[in-house]
Amino acid sequence: MLNNVDVTAATTAAQSAPPSGGAPVELENLTRRFAATTALDGFTLRIEPAEFVALLGPSGCGKTTALRVLAGFERPDRGRVMVDGVDVSGIPAQHRDMGMVFQSYSLFPNMTARDNVAFGLRLRRQKGPQRRSRAHELLELVGLAEHVSKYPHQLSGGQQQRVALARALAIEPRVLLLDEPLSALDAKVRAELRDQIRELQQRLSITTVFVTHDQEEALSMADRVCVMSRGKSEQIATPSELYSKPATPFVAEFVGVSSRVNVERTGDRVHLFGRDVKIRGEDFRLDLAVMDALLRPEDVDVAVASDGLGVVVHRSFLGATTRLEIGIGGESVKADVMSSAAGEFELGTRVSLSVNAPDVLVTEQRPVR
């Protein structure tokens, strides 16, 4: 487990480490099919040098396939991969100079932490003392200087992933690929390692692609997040833009929490909780009279009202805020209130709702099951 001493050592070592720089990456119109399944369907993404991009999406959306195509473990059926302006689509994985950290602990069980880190350097024919010194330096960078002689089975999950990170960085890769490296770790270690990865990435200025299905990880670590669905990119934006201005209903529902409320449309407005609210973006052009509005919990105001149409059916304490689930006309709306004021919203309390956002995102009605 990462402790304070480790973090300090890691930070000090990181400060002294030379920046490795990063290469721009372009994934152009990638298509990859597996039998009847289309994993990537014309996927396109441009990543700037030293940028940290997260590929976020549900299982089967194609994010891991995109990473594997970039790494050279899969060949695209169509499209190409450009690194530093050079088409690397036909280059095998071992010649791409990309460091990769895997979801499962991928350390070589027969080698110590130092030998694992030195493995790539050995293949590059670095001399023994130089290799060992560099491996030690990198293990210091990730806060594991005291564990150089340990074998993988003697290290915790978090330590193993940090050795894997040091091993990937040892070869001074042009691009660092992270395939859900935190998903097998417990919550505390995950949060610590998350910060450490981000810090190292920024210090070393290395182009990084991070695959995850955990939106919290993606939003907290990445410069930009690419939300994927069915092999395509739904939206590529900064975390704040993704949350506040989702481009599609899929993004709105996948990132953060949203409630669907059935509404009637009049021109570019919808009638919601007794007042007209503007439709966000171009979606008012949808040729529909009835649609669903997507509301964030913080976009909804709640007030106790004996003649209110909503009833509190569930409440969850989240720390500073409490999330209320309000049943209204057969639908369920989530709303956040300050925990200090949540006492008045007991289960069964009648409430009135209003929208405090200037506009709302709309989508087609959810099909009736």
Partner: protein, 277 residues
């Protein structure tokens, strides 16, 4: 890393009732009886053979047959031939099977049941059928070489070696290890030699011992191919003392057991070394 489900473990530990205690004791006794019966099944013939070999006519223990052994005509050449065949077979089998099993695990996992069936064939097909076919199909230069036997033994060893390596690879996350190795710049050969083979040590050792035992014990093919290996020598040796033949069989059995024990202790010491580090 898999976490221990403590709740489950604690819940499942309940105070032992007298009935459970009695049942456990019965199970322990049952296990002991089965183990003793199995041990006797192997030890009695071995003891009988040793007694037959090392007792003289008066029933006294004597090492005389052992001293006579090395002067028996053809014994040393048969031993040398069997040893050569064992080494060549082991090397060929590993060179053929290690990349094949890795390839099947990585690229054709769906083919594993078919592989299991195919590698069972050498057990199903009688050795006499196999060797007659091979002798019929082989060119003369190969037929006149003892290494034709090694090639056939590779086929015979396949069921044991395949299963041993398959189990060894099944215990590793081969795909991730290979991809990690390749992403660091390693080619296939280097990945197999530096990453996979060291982690298949136990599987390779057990496969080697099985191959050794098979070659030292195979009679039908060697005799039909007219090569005097140890089993053939035991059966047809022009010795006047049948005790020597039995003694040779026992010695080779012991050699195989000793090799097995040495390999197991080597494997354990390697594991201990990595743990103590």
């Amino acid at each position: 890393m898999a976490s221990l489900d403590l709740d489950y473990t604690l819940d499942s530990v309940e105070p032992m009732e007298p009935f459970d205690r009695g049942r456990r004791r019965k199970i322990r006794w049952g296990r002991g009886i089965i183990l003793a019966a199995a041990a006797l099944y192997f030890i009695i013939p071995f003891y009988a053979a040793m007694q037959f070999s090392l007792e003289d006519i008066q029933g006294h223990f004597s090492l005389q047959p052992l001293t006579e052994l090395f002067s028996q005509p053809g014994f040393l050449s048969a031993t040398w031939l069997s040893t050569q065949l064992a080494v060549v077979t082991m090397v060929l089998t590993m060179l053929l099977m290690v990349p094949t099993v890795i390839y099947v695990h990585l690229r054709m996992p769906r083919f594993r049941p078919a592989m299991e069936a195919i590698t069972t064939l050498p057990i199903i097909i009688p050795p006499i059928v196999l060797i007659v076919g091979v002798l019929e199909a082989s060119p003369l230069w190969l037929k006149s070489s003892p290494y034709l036997l090694a090639l056939v033994y590779v086929v015979l060893a396949m069921p044991f070696v395949y299963r041993s390596l398959d189990a060894g690879l099944g215990a590793l996350d081969v795909k991730t290890l290979v991809e990690a190795s390749r992403s660091l710049g390693s080619n296939w050969f280097s990945t197999i030699v530096r990453v996979l083979v060291p982690n298949l040590r136990s599987a390779l050792l057990s496969a080697s011992v099985l191959t050794l035992a098979l070659v030292f014990g195979e009679f039908t093919m060697a005799s039909l191919d007219n090569w005097t290996t140890i089993p053939v020598w035991i059966a047809f040796a022009p010795t006047v003392n049948p005790r020597i033949n039995t003694l040779v069989a026992m010695i080779f059995l012991l050699v195989t057991v000793v090799v097995l024990m040495l390999l197991v202790s080597f494997d354990r010491s390697q594991s201990r070394r990595t743990r103590s580090n």
